[in-house]
Amino acid sequence: MRLHLKSKPIITGLALVLLFSSLSFKCSSGGSNNGNANVDLNKQFRSAAKASDDVAKGISEMIDLKRKLAQQGKMSAAEEGKLTDLLLKVNTADKVFVARIKAMRGTAPDASGKANLASLFAEVTSALNELSNAGLLPLGNADAKGQMQKILALATAAAQIIEAFLKP
């Protein structure tokens, strides 16, 4: 099978997403896990905290990239406006999720606590999907679309770690 030249950057991007995900899991061994009974719980909270932090960082990088692409004329004001609204939506959803994790920290979430977290997290994933479908897909400039989509893929990879934490 011969790879088309245009596939190379996409494959590179996907490989880096995999690297990003593996690093995220690998780094979860740090921090303070003191008691034996709380080790799993601490690990779960730590993974959720790290992933929500990764989503926040991904949003930050997307804001900077969006500004740069707009300055380069690769994005219209209308497109930038739409992206700004959708990024704000993801940011707000992640903010609510982080606040909830902070409030629950140190105590094992019961069934309703986990359901509450899952519901809040559904807001984050829904906002990420909306950002992809309504903000990035309609972008007219292929270069701008490709770059933004790759950064979103990184944030989405982090979000999948939270999803694993919330599984019953």
Binding site: P9, G13, L16, L19, F20, L23, S24, K26, C27, S29, G30, G31, S32, N42, F45, R46, A49, K50, S52, D53, D54, A56, K57, G58, I59, S60, E61, I63, L65, K66, R67, K68, A77, E80, G81, T84, D85, L87, L88, N91, T92, D94, K95, V98, I101, K102, R105, D143, G146, Q147, K150, I151, L154
Partner: protein, 77 residues
């Protein structure tokens, strides 16, 4: 690992000066290098510190996005 990421971040602007068309890919690689380093650095932080960092980043993001909304609406530059 840290040195490799630092090197990658420093090399990307240099690549674009020699290969102009590589600018967008180099920009992307620089972002990925920054994010990979960011994740690597989380390993040395406590969960509380990570959550505080997330809070700070999200607050900064909100400020930047509100500034963009004002700019796009024709307000402040």
């Amino acid at each position: 690992m840290d040195k490799l990421l630092e090197l990658l971040t420093q090399l990307t602007p240099l690549v674009t000066s020699f290969v102009p068309k590589a600018e967008s890919e180099a920009e992307l690689l620089a972002i990925i290098a920054r994010m990979t380093k960011f994740i690597h650095d989380q390993g040395g932080m406590t969960t509380d510190e990570i959550l505080d960092q997330a809070d700070t980043t999200l607050d900064d993001n909100e400020k930047k996005l509100m500034a963009d909304k004002i700019r796009l609406a024709g307000g402040a530059p």
